[in-house]
Chain length 322, copies 2
Amino acid sequence: MAHQLIADQFLPIFSNPHLERMDDSAVLEMKGCRLAFTSDSYVVDPPFFPGGDIGRLAVCGTVNDLSMSGAKPLYLSLSLIIEEGFPLQELRTIIRSVQGAAREAEVLIVTGDTKVVEKGGADKIFLNTAGIGILQDKHISISGNNAQVGDQLILSGSIGDHGIAVISQREGFSLGGNIESDMAPLNRLVQDMLQASRKIHVLRDPTRGGLATTLNEIAAQSQVGIMVEESKIPVREPVQGACELLGLDPLYLANEGKLVAIVKREAASIILQAMKRNPLGKGAEIIGEVVEDPKGMVFLKTKIGGTRVVDMLIGEPLPRIC
Amino acid sequence: MAHQLIADQFLPIFSNPHLERMDDSAVLEMKGCRLAFTSDSYVVDPPFFPGGDIGRLAVCGTVNDLSMSGAKPLYLSLSLIIEEGFPLQELRTIIRSVQGAAREAEVLIVTGDTKVVEKGGADKIFLNTAGIGILQDKHISISGNNAQVGDQLILSGSIGDHGIAVISQREGFSLGGNIESDMAPLNRLVQDMLQASRKIHVLRDPTRGGLATTLNEIAAQSQVGIMVEESKIPVREPVQGACELLGLDPLYLANEGKLVAIVKREAASIILQAMKRNPLGKGAEIIGEVVEDPKGMVFLKTKIGGTRVVDMLIGEPLPRIC
């Protein structure tokens, strides 16, 4: 719905080449600097969940959006909308999480804003983080538009953990196994990959709508087909179990510490090796490739040998997941 | 309350020189560029009021925060949090206001985000705009820390219009006279002032908490006293009337198209003339000066010849004004 809203209502009004790229960050040329700029609001419900809270999520989300353009994230803003009566102790915990994640990602919180609204005017707490990063090299050109036929798809690790962690906390059921959000800042993983090879065409973090939505967006932006092998997609056993129990498909679940890279075929193996040396990429796998047709579509080779179309997410099975 | 929250809870945790300046924008050095960076959330209730809407407010507010560092605003992000069921027609109007104000201020909306929360999860619509501007000159150093004894205070026009426009709409009373929000992008006014003289020490737009709060912040940051002549502060007659009716003090009402400049005494007249040539500064007046003592305090010479302390705003008489 949000996707449709943006495409139908906003893009025609704002029409400019930065927005039309529809990437997670805008890349801006300013007096010889190349900057990446992004902003996201976080409304996750509940604000505390296994593996962390909305504060860590907001920093990781924005650091990752900047990283997906190949930029090195440097500076973040932090804006809070707080419902009157929100416990001060919880606010302090969230602020400490923001600072902890910022330190981990080596970014500074340099500006911000706080609004308090009356009880019932907002649900607990919303955060917004905007971020600025720098593209250190003129030759980096990473965008959802750049996928080319023959390119390999690399996924940095298992999917679905964030989605299941939030939904289990929200609904109050314990899912046995230890399922925690995978939230993590991916900037160093991306720098390691870029050091291994510049032949990275697309980077995306499959957050809201999951891997399926991200791949559909790339296929549409680049006007290519994408073929994925189901057996290559890592899903941890407790996440798979929870999905079966709840009738959810891990392909559509949000992740907050994973990325998909689409890279030139001959560079795939060296990039994969670089990823596996980073703790956040040790579960990386080549999961598929870019094909010529049918353009704009994603196909899954299933474990039982069939092939099925993986659609864009219709509706929203898990609202307020980030 | 928000001020106290920031000072007590956030600054000690994030401790870095950018935040500790407590200006409206952070000024960042990046590979030879000097950038200004800011972010604000807007929760004004109601989102439509005389003179415009939350969309125009969000653009003007962020353009103005950038301008108050002396920067030329260039790029904005736009993030929306929308309550489920918010009328699509109103959303479209807000988006068009955003684009209209962006065009007027000559900035581009380059990135953004949309979150929809369930009915009751947020009150109608909240916006966040972050912005990037460029400081075109190494010699610009404008900060709330820079007020110096003997400096003159210039106010760009009449105060209180935004506050009264929003409160009258919210409470549903008609106040006779035509009171509209003064929202406007002040970037060109600031550029005109800088062209007239570089001897500008402080720039601030007196938004939430009004002129009184802004002057108190500057007095505290610069460790100086500020003396203001009440008779020199322009208040439009219908705003004055509404204030008397409602028991409000215009000194504490929000403005969204006004600025206070603290400038070197010998440059005050040339800067004032430059301001008066711009439509947004035609009501500008020299309203007071910076004095040595008592440090951190603001005094008002009243119309009847007395002197009174102008305190920081305690509590919030008008919540959700921006």
